[in-house]
């Protein structure tokens, strides 16, 4: 067995053990963990409320990520965030505008929206055409330009952009600023994340996307395993790096 495969199985086993033990521990604890504040998640409910009150669509962008490719798991995390955002407004007739750059993710996002409305017994408010596929070029600037135009034409309320973006995120952030709209940005790409930091008052930083459920459902003990797992794995990796550095000296 090669080293890479051995490390992969080691990581998988560790994550499995943490998930199982963490679940047991959280159930015994019976009260939620105290999570550090992430301003991007703090503001999400307010953005949804504002969209409902102003009767304007909230825009959730899932650009640059694809189901069935290397970014599948990021896409799943983004879909979870989409579900949680939409759950808050699914009892009304409001619908968000969701944009993707992947055809399969388009159907995934439609399913997430439908499920949120079905949960609230409000399926009549669900419209599949509120999820839109936009083409993406080499640097996704076509996507950025399209979102900028949509912001003006459809008079969107605010923008939540998660996924994999590059410099084109600056265009969207710029338009949002000019319209006095709030812009929450996140990207797994370093350039996009830097732009999101510069433009968004409340960014979500790369890996924080993976713990969205724990923040949007603070009372649900099951969802709190995510940040726990992430932190345990991170510390395990830090300790491993330090140990390797000491041993190799």
């Amino acid at each position: 067995m090669s080293n890479e495969v051995a490390y992969f199985w080691l990581l998988l086993t560790l994550a499995f053990v943490v998930s199982t033990l963490g679940g047991v521990m959280l159930r015994r604890r019976k009260r939620p963990l105290v999570l550090r504040t992430i301003r991007g998640y703090q503001i999400l409910p307010l953005l949804v409320d504002e969209a409902i009150e102003s009767d304007r669509q909230l825009h959730v962008g899932l650009g640059g990520i694809e189901l069935g490719k290397a970014t599948t798991l990021v896409s799943l995390a983004a879909l979870t965030l989409l579900y949680e955002v939409n759950r808050r407004q699914a009892f009304t007739s409001s619908t968000p505008l969701v944009t993707t750059t992947d055809g399969i993710l388009l159907t995934g996002a439609q399913d997430m929206l439908r499920r949120a409305y079905a949960t609230e017994n409000n399926l009549s408010a669900y419209h599949a055409d509120t999820v839109v596929w936009l083409p993406t070029g080499e640097r996704s600037l076509a996507y950025g330009a399209a979102i900028s135009a949509i912001n003006y034409i459809d008079r969107l309320s605010n923008n939540i952009m998660v996924g994999s973006y590059g410099a084109e995120l600056a265009l969207i952030g710029d338009v949002a600023t000019r319209r006095d709209a709030v812009f929450v940005g996140q990207s797994i790409d370093l350039v996009g994340q830097a732009v999101a930091f510069a433009h968004a008052e409340t960014p979500i930083l790369t890996e924080e996307l993976f713990v969205s459920e724990a923040y949007t459902r603070p009372d649900d003990l099951r969802s709190q395993i995510q940040p726990l797992m992430l932190d345990v794995l991170r510390w395990a990796l830090v300790i491993a790096i330090i140990l390797i550095a000491i041993v190799e000296r």
Partner: protein
Amino acid sequence: MNRRHSIIGNALSAAFVSGVAFITILGLFAEVDTSLALIAEGFLQIVTVVAAFGVLIGVLNLLIFVHLRRLLEGKRGALYSFALLLSAILIIGVYSADRSELWTGDLAGEQLSPRLYQVTQTTIESAIAGLVLFSLVYGAFRLMRRQVKWDYLLFLSAMVIALVGWLPLDGLEAFADLRDWLLRIPVTGGIRGLLIGVGLGSVVVGIRVLLAQERFYQRRP
């Protein structure tokens, strides 16, 4: 009754998804041409076919449900939608002509659709990319106007050093060295940190999918 259906449905979908995921992982690590590897390859081929249909669905969704509808209903931006529909039809026509080798005269044997792509898409994207620099500077200005914090100051300093470091003027070599150091050490470290974070996050989501703890295929509020 509904609750029982929901529990059975959740259990079935969880067993199906977890089973397929485990077989695919095992197949990816198995020896070539073993039955596990072949099954995993089969699953991946199904995904590829679905992905191809996904693109088709995406294009149809964009053309029909968004732009054609906007045009027919005469909503704001209908003119842009008309331009987009027209260009889509033109591109489909050009691509079909390329495939059928319909071009004659000087264009005989030429493939025009890649050239069209180069001329329009790449040029426009490059032009928009030029604006990004101004947008970043404006973003940094806004950050500082909003509130002066140490992380904002760090961002601004890094940006100023990077921009000044690019200037080909005498006496600014120190900035160029500093910029190179920034790119070599802190930026590389930051990139690795972010990539490790994304990797670990992916592992967390992957494990939750394997253990049927994710929400995608479950009916629960």
